[in-house]
């Protein structure tokens, strides 16, 4: 099994989840209110009241053979909007 994790702006969360569902993930988990820093600068929760939001952390456990479809679906979104995506190995407990 693989563990895919994405960190991206909350504003793009819906688009990313839709893309993942179309790619066929068996499930996913999302933590919102994530702050951080990356190539596009700092992200804080200070503007949350304005609807600007912070980042979201998405975790997906899936079979290795789904990664290609996910890469194809998610890369354009991450390139255009920013955000990171990394994969690690995982095995069910």
């Amino acid at each position: 099994m693989k563990r895919l994790e994405l960190i991206l702006s909350e504003r793009e969360l819906d688009a990313v989840i839709q893309a993942m569902e179309i790619a066929g993930v068996p499930g996913y988990s999302v933590v919102r209110h994530v702050t951080g820093k990356g190539p596009h600068g700092s992200v804080s929760e200070g503007m949350e009241f304005s609807g600007l939001g912070a980042n979201a952390h998405v975790i997906v456990f899936c079979e290795a053979d789904l990664l290609d479809a996910l890469r194809a679906a998610l890369r354009p979104l991450l390139t255009y909007y920013g955000g990171v995506a990394y994969v690690t190995d995982a095995e069910a407990l």
Binding site: S9, R11, E12, A15, H33, G41, S44, E45, G46, M47, E48, F49, S50, G51, L52, G53, P76, L77, Y80, Y81, G82
Partner: protein
């Protein structure tokens, strides 16, 4: 002009709490108002201002100055981004110029509310239909901003994931702050017309608490605005100048339009504040989603770090003085 007006404004609780928030950041206090508390106050203020505006709009009706004023406000929210864009394009790329232009075409509800509170302390009357003008200025500015992007950078825009017009229009007309404001306005209208007995039951929440809640929210706005000051270095002298001079120019245009419309001094001030203020709620969120190529630090730090404090501290009394000087009905 009357310098005591500025002083008067400076010692009002909302402005003082704004200063307290700024001071907290400047001296390094760990004071913070964690999310989603500011959102609670922001939702509350929009709901309350909309509801009160609806109640009053029901009484004033749509006759007289109402429709011309609303039309003029919407025209300003289309015009301001256009001429702002021309100014900004001299130094910035198309994406950033369009995003900042849209920001200045739109309005700041909190500046508007602070101006209302200022008028109340001055015992100057104003009308509920101005809230309708407020609500109707956000969407056109967003749309103009996106049109400018499409005009300025049609090829680059095409590179990203397709962003259909439907989602752009949804973001313009249905973003949460426009939606809550318009919805609460409609509810206020309906309640005033068909359920007047329930008005008194709403007022302790929507009316009595309003001033204190505004002050509390401005404490947070002070913190957030001061945190943006660092970003201003990135913005540079041109943009800082823009974010003071453009509101002043817009205020002057607004004053002349208010004069043409024959508005009284209260409504005139609100009209001018709508022209002179810049959005840091609906527009930045819309731009972040639809123009990701623009740098949010630029449009947020100018609107929130410079124009907003300028307006609530100096601008409001200054515009009042301008109105008193230029409007035959005032002074």
């Amino acid at each position: 002009m009357d310098p005591s007006l500025i002083l008067q404004n400076l010692v009002s609780p909302p402005v003082l709490f704004f200063f307290l928030g700024v001071t907290a950041v400047l001296v390094g206090s760990d004071l913070e108002i964690p999310a989603p508390i500011p959102k609670l106050f922001s939702l509350y203020l929009l709901l309350a201002i909309g509801f009160k505006g609806g109640l009053e709009l029901q009484h004033s009706g749509l006759g007289g100055q109402v429709l011309p004023t609303i039309a003029a406000a919407m025209a300003m929210s289309l015009l301001v981004p256009l001429y702002s864009y021309l100014v900004l394009k001299t130094r910035l790329d198309g994406f950033n110029a369009a995003a900042i232009a849209a920001t200045y075409g739109s309005i700041s509800a909190v500046t508007f509310i602070t101006a209302e509170s200022f008028l109340e302390t001055q015992n100057l009357p104003f009308d509920g239909f101005m809230v309708a003008a407020l609500a109707l200025m956000e969407s056109p500015a967003i749309i103009v901003g996106l049109l400018l992007v499409k005009l300025a950078a049609p090829s680059q825009q095409a590179e990203g994931p397709k962003m259909g017009w439907s989602s752009v229009l949804r973001e313009s007309f249905l973003n949460s702050s426009v939606f809550l404001l318009v919805g609460s306005l409609a509810i206020g209208l309906l309640v005033a017309a068909f359920s007047p007995a329930s008005i008194d039951k709403m007022l302790p929440f929507t009316d009595k608490l309003f001033y204190g809640a505004l002050s509390f929210f401005l404490l947070d706005m002070g913190i957030v605005a001061a945190q943006r000051i660092r970003d201003l270095r990135q913005a540079g002298a041109f943009l800082i100048g823009f974010s003071v001079l453009m509101p002043l120019f817009n205020a002057l245009v607004g004053t002349l339009i208010a004069r043409g419309l024959g508005l009284g001094p209260g409504n005139a001030l609100l009209f001018v504040v709508l022209c002179a203020s810049a959005s840091y709620i609906a527009v930045p969120a819309a731009m972040r989603m639809t123009v990701p190529q623009a740098n949010p630090s630029l449009y947020i730090s100018t609107a929130l770090g410079v124009t907003f404090p300028f307006n609530i501290i100096v601008g409001i009394p200054l515009y009042m003085a301008m109105i008193k000087a230029l409007l035959p009905t005032a002074g």
